[in-house]
Symmetry: C2
Subunit: 325 residues, 2 copies
């Protein structure tokens, strides 16, 4: 179980390695959102997403011998790049299991960051967990899970420590913090950090239509699954269900989820281009889309949205601009 | 004449108003540049460019009565938005004279920021200075020049104070700092700040082919003009010649200019999209293009490039992605 102390320790180890991303804003976006909107652009993090934080936290927490044998990760792409970069910086070998339908950019980048990439058939239902266990056993690698892993949650929680400090400096001490949510690693880590450091800020998951497992799980009070784990442009956050470790945290600390459409994600990407000058991928734009287009589900004078990643193929980005800019 | 003390005073007045932009980097860009490359993304500044700093510095330095009468600015767009936003925040009226061929996005934004926009015919040779003087005289407005203005240079110089601090923190204490250069306000301000705070860092202007007035002026030792002030996609930095105030500073402190092509600017925009997740406009990509594609003119293990602005129309951005991403 991830504790506040683990998040704070991860923040110490990450210092000077992860970027402290700023809080961005635009009067034009405030107008659309109907309230003050602050955006935490984790797309500007190393490897283009917050996942670098969790990767670094996990690698830096290992003993030297374990780390030298190497690590293994499975991911739709952003966790892959985060672990690959963190492993390279720590001198550790990395094997990354990726879905064959992940954006080519993410596959190429993971390889270029020095990792060995193994593709699996997500659509056909191949189990990435079984494949991962095979590699872990035969090569002595340590599995770094994408979200249901205490040190990874601790690393992602450093986003929450920064939000607490930066929002307070902006005079925002109450309101919703919207987080693009897959398995809930970032969402739960941020929630734990804010519980201690900015208790007036409440985390709420943002998810795409058809992949709203966390939103439904929070409603029912038990872990609910998605019918499918592919078929949305929001590829970064298509996980089967909240994790056994993340769900109790989400359940205790988070407000209701907000569900957005793919079109709203593309629209949010175009507005982030126009008004914030940042590149956000569809899955990374879910929280911003929720803040911009679902203001009726939000209360308070201010809202914070985490733009979780920017690893989008040019064709998809052009689609967002052509349809909405 | 702008002094270091003026830059430091401007930094105090701007604190909490301008964003402190981070230094970004990517191992993929280091590979292309052939050395370590740090990018200062001023496209993430309020209004999408560094010009907000100069506008804020000028407005905040005025006495209350002068400020209340209002300000006037002429600009291809970024200075316009910077002054408009700073004026609005100070409760001062603003009249902005803009070329009729400026990107529509910049014209629209300047109006939306509360300024009165007056368009003039840049291609036909209409003098924006005469038009500006007319408005200044008839309405009692104070002209805030885009670059040849001591307080504006001081405001832009705050970019240099941040670079000095951030580069030192990254272990970079010597090398070239490439700055996209129009009239030289940012370039001279950064040079003054670095002279005092990071004397091992040398500023060099980056300019587009055909609009290399500063590069030629530095070579000849006297102010040289461009044959034209329009006809490049790098609209943000198409000024007729270095200024009477900026040129002596540039001449004393800057290294040789680097001239880039329009195609290189588009390529740099695409790489900034792919690797840094930031939106850069053509004129704002000149320094990055120089770092990436003119490494043979650069010495040292590290280079810093300022990405000065991100106010680009979607069609131009799509062109960059289609041609180079």
């Amino acid at each position: 179980m991830t504790s506040l102390a683990m998040i704070e320790a991860a923040a110490e180890r990450i210092k000077g390695h992860a970027r402290k991303t700023p809080l961005l804003s635009s009067p034009f976006l405030d107008d659309i959102a109907g309230r003050r909107l602050l955006v935490k652009p984790e797309c500007l993090q190393h490897t283009g997403s917050f996942k670098f934080r969790g990767g670094w936290a996990a690698l830096s927490a290992m003993d030297e011998e374990t780390r030298k044998r190497g690590v293994l990760a499975f991911s739709s792409g952003n966790h892959a790049q985060g672990v690959a970069a963190a492993a390279k910086a720590h001198g550790a070998p990395a094997v990354i299991i990726m879905p064959a339908d992940a954006p080519q950019l993410k596959i190429d980048n993971t390889r270029a960051l020095g990792a060995e990439v193994v593709l699996y058939d997500r659509v056909g239902g191949e189990s990435r967990e079984e494949l991962g266990n095979h590699y872990a056993t035969t090569r002595g690698l340590t599995l770094v899970k994408p979200y249901d892993e205490p040190e990874v949650i601790a690393g992602q929680g450093t986003v929450g420590l920064e939000i607490a400090e930066q929002a307070t400096a902006e005079g925002v001490t109450s309101g919703d913090v919207l987080v693009c949510c897959g398995g809930g690693g970032l969402t739960s880590g941020v929630a734990l950090a804010l519980e201690a450091h900015a208790p007036g800020l409440r985390v709420r998951p943002a998810e795409p239509q058809g992949f709203d497992d966390v939103t439904r799980s929070l409603q029912s009070g038990q872990i609910e699954s998605n019918a499918s784990t592919s078929g949305s442009i929001c590829d970064a956050i298509l996980t089967p269900a909240p994790g056994d470790i993340t769900f109790p945290i989400l359940s205790r600390l988070c407000g209701p989820g907000i569900v957005i459409t793919e079109d709203e994600a593309l629209h949010a990407m175009a507005l982030a281009f126009l008004r914030l000058k940042i590149v956000v991928e569809p899955g990374g734009a879910a929280a911003l889309a929720a803040a911009l287009f679902h203001g009726d589900q939000i209360e308070g004078d201010a809202v914070i949205a985490v733009a979780t990643g920017g690893n989008v193929d040019p064709a998809m980005f052009i689609r967002a601009l052509e349809q909405h800019a």
